[in-house]
Amino acid sequence: MSDEAKIAELIRDVAPSVKIDRADYEQPLKDLGLDSLDHASILLQVEEHFGIKIPDEAAESLTSVGAIARFVAAVKAPASPA
């Protein structure tokens, strides 16, 4: 399962009534019917599932499935050699 698909699944756990298809991955979560409390809950689920921390500075810009997936990929990517 891709990170995007997993994130969509986590979102459905938080808000079962929300429908998200692949075509919605770049849609703002707000436009999908998710509010600020749902957003906090989704980010917590993402943190727990992927074992990462999402700082507040980044959280505000993670407003779509795609944006969250790109953040997760960047955090998971091995650091470049110095």
């Binding site: 600020s36 409390l37 906090a40 917590l44 943190e47 507040d56």
Partner: protein, 316 residues
């Protein structure tokens, strides 16, 4: 064992109607009802201070029980918004107003939403160690003293109120709910998530949510595991009523049915340390309840969870 003989509460009649403020705060009524869960916040009358709220809760306790002030040998007030300037301690002011005997031990506990559960463990231990028989545990934290009425994060959530729990030894003739085990948790490094900044309450909603949604289910599970109990062995879970959303989130993470995790904030808001005793008051007399979990969480960031059981237990 010391247990809870009775709980009385005083919630001021004054209300601010959140439904009339939805447009101001940019929320709709569905969000208000389904997520915040607070239709109205209770507001103390002008000039009504912390000890006044406690005194009115005590008056209710006198009406509802045969308690005589001369019998009280311990009085504790949980508050972070004390009477006046905070010096002397609110419990001392209350001691004088209620005409309690000089041997009655009095002190305040500075804790927020976890205060009732912490306080229950502290006062019970103190009373048992000292051989005391009658204690009063007050909770009163009128956040209207520090809430910015235009702050979307806090103005629609917190209400004013006070509760008083009468603590006494459980006997065969008068079985009581007693705290048989407790767990405590503090993450002081994150204390700025909920604090009084120069007289105004500041709340980082995401940090408080993350703390509550993770620490509380874990703490409840640890408590139950330590007692050899499963989640289903508990009849009722009374969680601090931070908001409807946080109560629902914790309930879902624990996989509990809604009827085991009641809501009690729509008509008065989040009463801080009084939210749990106000709900507990309404179920203390239910004979069908054997085990109740209480869990308070918030300011600190701190959480405290305990299991109440009827003591002494009926012979099977």
């Amino acid at each position: 064992m010391i247990g809870i003989a009775h709980i009385a509460a005083y919630i001021p009649h004054g209300r601010v109607d959140n439904r009339a403020r939805c447009a101001e705060f940019g929320v709709d009524e569905a969000f208000l009802a389904g997520k915040i869960g607070v239709e109205r916040v209770a507001r103390r009358a002008e000039g009504e201070d912390t000890a006044d709220l406690c005194e009115k809760a005590f008056a209710r306790l006198r009406q509802e029980t045969a308690l005589h002030p001369a019998a009280i040998d311990c009085l504790v007030v949980v508050t972070q918004n004390p009477q006046g300037s905070g010096l002397p301690h609110t419990s001392s002011i209350l001691h004088g107003r209620l005409g309690l005997p000089p041997h009655c031990a009095c002190w305040d506990i500075s804790l927020g939403c976890s205060g009732f559960v912490h306080g229950l463990a502290i006062v019970r231990s103190f009373m048992e160690a000292q051989g005391l028989r009658t204690g009063l545990l007050f909770t009163a934290d009128p956040y209207s003293k520090i809430v910015d009425p235009h702050d979307r994060n806090t103005a629609m959530i917190f209400g004013d109120g006070a509760a008083v729990a009468l603590l006494a030894p459980a006997t065969a003739a008068a079985p009581l709910f007693a705290p048989v085990a407790s767990r405590f948790h503090t993450e002081g490094a994150r204390h700025r998530a909920l604090e009084n900044r120069a007289g105004v309450l500041s709340m980082d909603g995401r940090a408080v949510f993350n703390f509550s949604a993770t620490a509380v289910p874990r703490q409840i599970d640890e408590l139950l595991a330590g007692l050899g109990l499963a989640r289903g062995d508990v009849d009722l879970y009374l969680l601090h009523q931070g908001s409807r959303y946080i109560v629902d989130a914790i309930r879902q993470r624990l996989g509990l049915p809604a009827e085991k995790v009641p809501l009690g904030l729509a008509d008065h808001g989040n009463l801080v340390s009084s939210s749990i005793p106000v709900m507990l008051r309404d179920v203390l007399g239910r004979g069908d309840l054997r085990r109740i979990v209480l869990s308070g969480f918030g300011v600190g960031l701190a959480a405290a969870t305990c299991l109440l059981e009827r003591r002494p237990q009926a012979k099977e």
